[in-house]
Amino acid sequence: MRKRVRTGICLLAAWLGCALMTTGCWDYHDINHRTVPVIMGVSKGQEKRYKVSLQIPIPAERKLNVKVVSREASTISEGIDNIRTDVENYIDLLSIQLIVVSQELAREGLQDALTNAIRATAFPPKTLLAVTDSDMEELLSNTKKAITSDITTFYKFANKRAGWTPKTAKANLMESFSSTQSYTQDILLPIIKPGRETVLEFDGSAILKKGKMIGRLSDNETLVVNVITNRFYGADVEVLESASLTIRSAHMHWSSRVTENGPELVGKLNLQTSLSESRIEKPKSEHISDLEKLFLKELEQVTNKLIQTGADPLGLGNHFRSKIPFEKLAQWRSDYYPELKVRYLVDVKINNLGSLVQAE
């Protein structure tokens, strides 16, 4: 009996402890006192090294006020701290969807900033990154109106099932950080500008090698890169001399080997297309060979351009990870990549000829 009472008292103490501890009253931030910035801009400051701008929606009665607050500081965390001093609510950085970096900063190098962003766990690693060459304040103010009506605007730009097209690159914070440390993978960041009728305009992409921007690619070249890295989704219209074909899906298969002359890659591209316009009554096989020639030319052009810049956003080095020993792989970009020979085979199938009959 006494043992039962003793056990009962111990259990009672334990339950009381549970009740006290699980309320979590220590460090909550009330939802009314939080503010959730959506887009952050980092550019070069005039007096100090960085200028950090945050676009902060402040909920008011029956509407949403969006403010752009900028502060200059010598490091990015100090800049955010300075912004925190002046904003009345608690700023919750874990919902930032897009970080925009100015082009001058990208050319100087983002390696330290990326490493610190991942170390600090302040930003979610799936935040999208973008580069801009226009004025940061103008970009952030331009997007104010769109955010006021729909706060998930930037997610939609990157969502495959919403507005993302294969002509734009997409990179998140973790991928960019990986590319600064990885031996065989670089990254493309989209270049954005404030749009006139739309929220954003995409102006090609920036090639980043070890965190430093070393070149630009145009829209079409970005499309080719997305096709090569198997990120093609949706549809894209290719205009040939006498027809227009819409590409529905693109898959790339690789085989690699290392010879005495250097590494060699053979890439086989399967394109499934449908015929959307055709001006002259030409047979299907001619359209197919036209597209194959066009694509082959574009593939080789983009690949050669990228090999010359010395950056590897196509991830071609990944195919050689099993063939080159790990210590030598660290020199992939300097030793093996310039000697790389890539051969492409394009195989086009027109699945859908539409409602009219077409000759073979």
Binding site: C18, L94, K126, R161, M174, F177, S182, N318, A330
Partner: protein, 356 residues
């Protein structure tokens, strides 16, 4: 049959909590390639210990716990009390490690003692229950935790790139690297509990061996998913590779933002079971003793001691250094307990006296 599945779930749930702690980091950082060999070696060591503790597939007649409860003075001083002390330290290490991880990743402003007390206090009331209720609870927790886990793993598979797991050739570099020792202790920690929940019937043993096979899958997944998404040279720098990978996963149709929260939730469930199991065993071992041993092994006292111990460890790195030396020590102790278990089993077969 239902008893069998609860024992198997108990085995899996116990393993799972320690997997995020130092396991992927120490395996990825200890050698540049061929991690699968280290994992398979650890798994085989686990199989060896399992064989010693529960032995084959025949029904057992004795239970290690009852034998230890009724043992004489020398055995108690030499084996049982070091084991109880080691349990206290193990509880302290576990709650400190998990509290620190929560503090780094999710709650940087919460004071540390709050997290420590929170982790213990929920486990306290379970430790006063019977062995069967503990197994039933582990079945319920497994029913919550394992689907959460599978959901997070499946959503991360999309981000895996098969090319990045190369180079895959195994090397023996890990033998020189002291960083591998914490992983070693994680492999054998589960036996501090499994051996004491006997006697197991034949069907239960079959389920236990099956759970051992399934745990290989979890070990491999935990190391190879971050490796295939990032590559060896990037994952080397990450402190929590699996969690960063899960934070990068974007699931568009789901209303929760951070998937790693589910992973941590499953881990916390497992820690709950781990701590309550250890507290239960500690309490049961002093069942027939006099007042003072029973006071010391009371779950509230053990819990407070563990909290005090955990609070005074200066930092997470010191905790890992503790694991470097403490891990093999605990393994040694469990190995001796395993040998004791074999001894008692053989004596029961021959028909020896029911006294140690």
């Amino acid at each position: 049959m239902s008893r069998g599945i609860s024992v198997a779930t108990f085995f899996l749930v116990l393993q799972f909590g320690l997997l995020i702690f130092v396991f992927p980091q120490s395996i990825i950082q200890s050698e540049p390639s061929g991690h699968w060999m280290v994992i398979i070696i650890g798994w085989l060591i686990q199989g060896f210990m399992l064989r010693l503790f529960i032995g084959g597939l025949r029904t057992e007649k004795t239970s290690l716990l009852t034998k230890l409860q009724q043992s004489g003075l020398w055995l108690r001083l030499g084996l049982v009390w070091p084991y109880i002390l080691s349990n206290m330290v193990a509880i302290g290490v576990m709650i400190r490690g998990h509290a620190q991880i929560l503090s780094i990743l999710y709650l940087p402003q919460t004071p540390l003692w709050v997290l420590l007390v929170l982790l213990i206090v929920t486990a306290l009331s379970i430790s006063y229950a019977e062995r069967d209720s503990l197994l039933r609870l582990s079945l319920v927790i497994g029913a919550f935790g394992l689907p959460l886990l599978s959901f997070t793993i499946i959503s991360a598979i999309n981000y895996a790139n098969l090319d990045m797991i190369f180079p895959i050739k195994p090397t023996f570099d890990f033998m020189d690297e002291p960083r591998i020792l914490p992983a070693f202790s994680i492999f054998v920690n589960v036996f501090g509990l499994i051996g004491f929940f006997g006697p197991y019937a034949e069907s239960e043993k079959r389920w236990l061996w099956g759970a051992w096979v399934v745990s290989l899958f979890f070990f491999l997944m935990n190391v190879y998913l971050p490796l295939s998404a990032f590559g060896q040279e990037v994952a080397d720098n990450l402190r929590f590779p699996m969690i960063v990978l899960l934070d990068t996963v974007r699931v568009n149709w789901f209303f929760f933002d951070r998937l790693s929260l589910f992973y941590i939730m499953a881990t916390m469930f497992s820690t709950l079971i781990n701590i309550s199991g250890l507290l239960w065993v500690t309490r049961q071992l002093a069942h027939h003793s006099s007042f003072v041993p029973r006071l010391i092994t009371n779950p509230l006292i053990v819990g407070s001691f563990a909290i005090v111990f955990a609070y005074f460890v200066p930092s997470l790195e010191d905790l890992e250094r503790l694991l470097l030396s403490g891990g093999p020590l605990r393994f040694f102790l469990l190995f001796i307990l395993a040998l004791a278990s074999v001894y008692y089993r053989n004596r029961a077969k021959i028909g020896g006296q029911p006294r140690a």
